[in-house]
Subunit: 446 residues, 2 copies
């Protein structure tokens, strides 16, 4: 795509109201724009990131056996009355009435609706186990939305729901999704701590939150230092376009690390010695729940099994996709801007034409653009004709993994400068060699 | 995907409340499920159709130079007060308040929001021309939602917005999107009439609706019989996986056909002779508007041009994607069920194992499944072990373009029966030949 037509309004200055780095960078990189408190438009560059993250998360959901459907944003209040949550959910639930004064809510989550859906279709035991998921806009009417899309009101969520014949099967499904989450996040370049968590308004007995470490995180965490070693081991691999694929063994090791929120941590009972613990702040990027028959029983989803009628054992599994964009940026940036992992970069390559109008530059840049697009590599081509310094600063800010810099000296020789954004290494190579290295994977040098 | 885990709850009986054929078929094929009046869950099979149609429409939008962003579902009432539509839009606009008693609407369309967005970012003339689009859930609080997703309340819409320096440029953009629409619909197997239309609550001077012919359509249409000839000429081509790509010439011919709604048609002034006119009923699948400076002026979007400050000339361009699923079915079905065009079929192939458990059948079906998936062909594999008659009926109902039928007689010889759903033709061929024919394009025979 050509920068001139792309509608990516970059900004030099740090916006006044943005406190956390991801919020600052998302505004400066022209990724989103606030419409009302906690309600955002996703501008083209931000939307591309959101879509790539969504696609990756969905790929891993399907790999874990979840089947995709799509529930609506508005839900009848009757569903929430059946479960008893209409009165208890509190002011974060947005309530409204249609033209006939029927009560609705803008769904903050979908336990009720999916339970009612299965009630309409499922009667025999053959229907279990079942894992269904969707990606839909949710609304939670936060009293103080802040930190950009990190804590906003209208947000995009992936939520999955599991239905099992008995508790054993349900816990196996919970564990499978637990591992799926660790695997999914690693592909995004994130290595979250899995923290035993309170179940809150969803309810149930068992719950884990996934937190990535960030100084600006809202939660205080305590965790086993072993985590840093696990992290160092798995992240030491070469970056690829599919992202880091963790081995089952690595997933087990991450799964085994002790971690808790400040308020859940009890030094007296914790098996890890005080000296082996670190403290840090974290951002929640996922939350999983096992709540047994809470909803199936309340809403009368019963199934005929071999041993008689039973209520399915349920779980739910959420990832805030819009927040995840911010979390990826929190974990991948430097003082010059964002550093996108190859796996979810809005474009793989930023192509800079340092002297638009110079015939060698235009030729080489044009031919690079053509070759890369033909090879299926997405390119943002800066054809705005601005001076080199602005182009360099904008491209570092946008943080595409590769930069291809076309200047008059190298262009005359049919060469380009190839820069790997993450470490800033550069090499000067022929155009075709540049395409070859970009196709091969990470790193400008070697 | 395996049918056993796919959550496609097919139904034999025609649902009582469904009047139009697309509504009946979508319910019987387990594509969607009603949650409240005019509010639906898209079940997995329906969602796949919706996603494929969305992807195709977006591909053509980008081809026409539109850039994608994503605006939120909820809009501040203030925006609508600025344009003057908050009071005039009527009861179809869903109004609500957040916890701080601030007024919002669930967006029925986005002219206000996109105008305000550009007002925040655009000041110089270089910003024109610009075409932006998004795909987002909308809400129109219909007094009587009916016909399934054809006239529902929460619906998925693609809406594009054009901004131009002057009226000439604006009309060129209108014409470009007009052609884009004809081209897009043809790829879906639809040949709509373009009807000069009233502008309604969007406003402006110029507007066209796109209607596909269907007995159950809500609009009465009058049109030049020449349309049938144009249609016969263009549709006489072999179906392909990208769908029919119209030539510019064919688009011009379709563009030139006279058509009007009953109430807009005036026999006295119409240039087409009475005897050359047909009457029919139509379903609106798209609507485009040119409304000049209506919103840019009301909302103060002004731009500095060479000749001074001007208000951009705007247009908007909508396609109801959820309705389009129904429209494709209205235009592509027979007495046994849906007949998906290759270009948007939820799966390309339905694979039937007529005798699950028979070792030759299981081998051949398993190897077909593997070969097709490896070739990038999406397959729905009926592994439910139901009797042949049920499998045949379900597969015809679901309407996947290809059926591969594995039965004991042919399987022993490593053969399968290949059926082209649209005309029912069948051939018995070796497994690899079947894959080859499926990759090649349309039609079982030849």
């Amino acid at each position: 795509m050509r920068f001139s037509g792309a509608f990516i309004p970059t900004k030099r200055d740090v916006p006044r109201d943005a406190v956390v780095i991801s919020h600052q960078l998302m505004l400066r990189a022209g990724m989103m724009s606030q419409e009302s408190a906690g309600i955002y438009t996703w501008l083209p560059f931000g939307l591309r990131a959101l879509q790539r993250i969504e696609a990756l998360i969905c790929q891993e959901q399907e790999r874990a056996g979840a089947v995709r459907l799509l529930m609506p944003t508005l839900q009848s209040a009757e569903l929430w009355q059946e479960s008893g949550r209409f009165d208890t959910y509190g002011p974060e639930m947005l309530r409204l009435q249609d033209r006939h004064q029927r009560d609705f809510v803008y769904g903050p989550t979908n336990e009720e609706m999916i339970t009612a859906l299965l009630r309409r279709y499922v009667s025999g035991a053959g229907a279990m186990p079942r894992m269904l998921y969707h990606v839909q806009w949710k609304f939670r009417d936060e009293a103080r939305p802040r930190f950009g899309v990190m804590r906003c009101r209208e947000f995009l969520m992936k939520d999955a729901y599991s239905f099992a014949q008995d508790e054993d099967e349900a816990l196996q499904m919970y564990e499978a999704m637990f591992r799926c989450y660790i695997r999914s996040f690693a592909r995004l370049g994130l290595y979250p701590l899995a923290v035993r968590a309170p179940t809150g308004p969803i309810g149930g007995d068992l719950s884990h939150e996934f937190h990535i470490l960030a100084q600006t995180g809202e939660s205080g965490l305590v965790y086993d230092k072993a985590y840093d070693k696990v992290y160092a081991n798995v992240s030491d691999q070469r970056e690829s376009r599919q992202g880091l694929i963790l081995s089952d063994d690595a997933i087990e090791r991450i799964r085994g690390v002790y971690a808790a929120t400040d308020d859940m941590h009890d030094g007296g009972t914790c098996a890890v010695a005080e000296g082996d613990l670190n403290k840090a702040r974290g951002i929640e990027v996922g939350h999983i729940f096992f709540f047994g028959t809470k909803y199936s029983r309340a809403m009368g989803l019963s199934v005929q099994g071999a041993g008689g009628t039973f209520y399915p054992q349920m779980g739910s599994y959420g990832i805030g996709l819009s927040r995840l964009v911010a979390a990826v940026i929190e974990a991948n940036h430097d003082e010059n801007g964002i550093i996108w992992p190859l796996s979810v970069a809005p474009f793989q390559v930023g192509l800079l034409n340092v002297r638009l109008g110079d015939s060698s530059c235009d030729d080489v840049a044009g031919s690079m653009y053509g070759m890369l697009e033909k090879a299926g590599i997405s390119v943002l081509y800066d054809d705005r004709g601005l001076r080199a310094g602005v182009q360099f600063a904008d491209m570092d800010l946008l943080g595409l993994p590769w930069q291809v810099i076309v200047g008059p000296k190298t262009a005359e020789k049919g060469q380009v400068e190839l820069k790997w954004r993450r470490d800033g290494t550069r090499v000067t190579v022929g155009s075709e060699e540049a395409v070859k290295r970009i196709l091969a994977g990470a790193g400008a040098v070697g």
